[in-house]
Symmetry: C2
Subunit: 401 residues, 2 copies
């Protein structure tokens, strides 16, 4: 209760967005959500944390250093800030939506909190918009999601991006039967693309199979007599179907792709663009996830990382939306900043909103505020708060940034 | 990791919104946010929890049973789910925005978690849109907020509502000098409107001073020679100014009004409407709050409770927005549900999105999904998932709810 100046200490992984950033984020989330809802995906809203037991059904045992968790005071149960929303969606599909006919198409917007890779004890808040498609097995569903991811990126103004296709079943099939520790070690080495640590000729060769259709054809030969033959055939088919679907300018293959959550069972994909090394979109098929929630059903989905998408838009020179926002200079008597010096009730109704120009601008959908000060002060105010114009009398002047 | 069916256990106070409810909520939040941003309020996005120390600077010492709190594992500090967003806004204004010129106009959207009154250990998640106006003292700022609250309710489709005006300074002035325990006891009795427990003629009389302008005039006489004379004069002036401003059909006075947070120092108001006993909007002036964050500045604000607003809209018969959403019946071969039985790559690109009718509807901004099943199944699907129409061949038929 002391009045000492505060820095802005926030709990781990938390962040404020100031007006300019918050408005840009809201507009971007809206663009992506508008596309996915147009495609019939219905928005659900999920709590920011869940009992750890629910998250672990989807994600496997959580490493305590990866996830922010706390003891829920009323029940004594452990709740955690979600590092991923897919297990929550699975919970909702398996419980409150289980009596509705498939296919289930859901969309969500929210923030997940994850440890930054390579940095112990540092968490990052990731704003996402994502979708889940349950009840549509195989390539029909996979293609729907690939096309929707591409549409979402285009709606965000990106034209150049790659969709890296892989299949979680390839490595999964090659590792089946090995000891769990060995599986974990190799999976991690593959995720790091660390050929030296892999020490298995077939797995190491996979890491080099990146690029166009040729990479998959080569993989088909490499894996012909292995348990991964089926998964690589599936990858080739989806690649070809994506090209036929008009995504030829974007699709790439990556046979050793291992990034992403452990729940993936089939095709997986990541979208990349210049300006950020991380994936803008991550998704894939997880046909076994809903069974873990007592509701076996094929499912697939993807999530868009809005921070990475923002970086890619900036790198691509996508112009920021700059809506017109006007500071209207009002006579001193009507200034809200002077209101305190007037006798209350003296000029009832004379206030900043009563200016006819302000009302007229707002009536046309233009953001407007009244300002009782000099033109210079009004311009400084406009610059500080992201207003584009200052109006003095009837004259409207643009404000340079 | 077992597959036993889950109920939907959620941490205390948490709730999912299913598609229909989530879409309605999103649309309502958007209407209110669109109004306040049109008035120049800039959106900020704040984390769902804060260190308890920050919240307590604003709210006073938090009763542990009122607030969900937990030990942040990395720092050992106590974080809490916010019961109110105003202290967070104050933190942002006092730190990251302190160098920008006033007035500060901020808007926020988010969820707070509070204990339900009268029910121990039961928390409620309250979805809010709110605003804060800092740097505008006195009636100018108060009127701006009253008018904006009325505009927000109108934008949500409500025409009949009351704006109950009070002044936190009245009771504050009358209680000044009493022992803190006595103050707390009386404040609570006033909040409960429990005349018997008040045992003070002036305070008890306040509780009966509700209604139109006459109630304030009567209060002016009652409080003429008390320390509350200034606060009641301020209330009368704001009442008159609100009437002059065109809010005469809505404003009411309530001189004993004590609901709300302890930080209020001056005029306060609540909006009510038929269909819900709780306030749709709560707000007021808290000129001492920012000083507690090291940045003395007058401030006022309000928050709209979107759940209560939804109830009031329903009671007022405001029609739910029902956008057109179409299930398009596609030939069996193109059905996504059959895709798994086709040889992959056999019909590349033939999928649910490729139907020309689906593309045409989406091109016009109409939500559309392809469905590979009988007309009967399509209608059942439409009803289950909130689609309004089924399209068979070129024929579009409305679906009854």
């Amino acid at each position: 209760m002391t009045g000492a100046p505060l820095e802005h200490p926030l709990p781990a992984g938390m962040r404020d967005l100031l007006p300019e950033e918050a408005a840009a984020r809201r507009s971007l989330a809206r663009r992506v959500l508008d596309v996915v809802t147009l495609h019939g995906y219905g928005l659900v809203t999920l709590p920011a944390f869940e009992f750890a037991e629910v998250l672990e059904r989807g994600l496997g045992t959580l490493d305590p250093s990866d996830v922010l968790r706390f003891v829920e005071p009323e029940s004594g149960e452990v709740a955690a800030l979600r590092p991923d929303m897919t297990p929550q969606i699975a919970r909702v599909v398996a419980t409150r939506l289980r009596d509705r006919p498939p296919p289930v198409r859901l969309a969500y917007e929210g923030t997940v909190v994850r440890r930054r890779s390579g940095r112990a004890r540092k968490h990052r808040q990731i704003p996402q918009v994502g979708v889940e498609l349950a009840g549509v097995p195989g390539p029909g569903g996979d293609l729907e999601l690939l096309a929707l991811a591409a549409d979402s990126l285009r709606a965000a103004g990106l034209e150049r991006f790659t969709l890296d296709l892989g299949d979680a079943g390839i490595v999964r099939a090659l590792l089946a039967g090995r000891a769990p520790e060995e599986q974990a070690r190799l999976t991690e080495a593959l995720a790091r693309k660390d050929e030296g640590a892999v020490k298995d000729a077939t797995l190491a060769a996979l890491l080099r199979l990146q690029g166009g259709r040729d990479a998959i054809v080569e993989g088909t030969q490499l894996l012909a007599r292995t348990p991964a033959a089926e998964a690589v055939a599936r990858l080739l088919a989806i690649f070809d179907a994506a090209v036929a679907r008009g995504l030829g300018a974007h699709v790439q293959a990556d046979l050793g792709e291992m990034r992403g959550f452990a729940y993936y069972t089939g095709p997986i994909f990541h979208a990349y663009a210049a300006g950020t090394g991380d994936a803008l979109v991550s998704g894939g098929r997880y046909d076994e996830l809903l069974a873990r929630f007592g509701c076996p059903m094929p499912a697939a989905g993807f999530a868009v990382d809005l921070d990475r998408l923002t970086e890619a838009r900036r790198a691509a020179g996508v112009p920021a939306e700059r809506e017109m926002r006007v500071v209207v200079i009002v006579p001193p008597g009507a200034s809200p900043a002077r209101a305190e010096t007037e006798a209350p009730g003296d000029k009832p109704g004379v206030g900043q909103d009563d200016d006819a120009r302000v009302a007229e601008l707002r009536g046309r959908g233009v953001v407007a505020v009244a300002f009782g000060g000099s033109p210079e002060a009004a311009r400084a105010y406009a610059r500080a708060w992201g207003f584009t114009h200052v109006m003095e009398g009837p004259a409207l002047a643009e404000v340079s940034c």
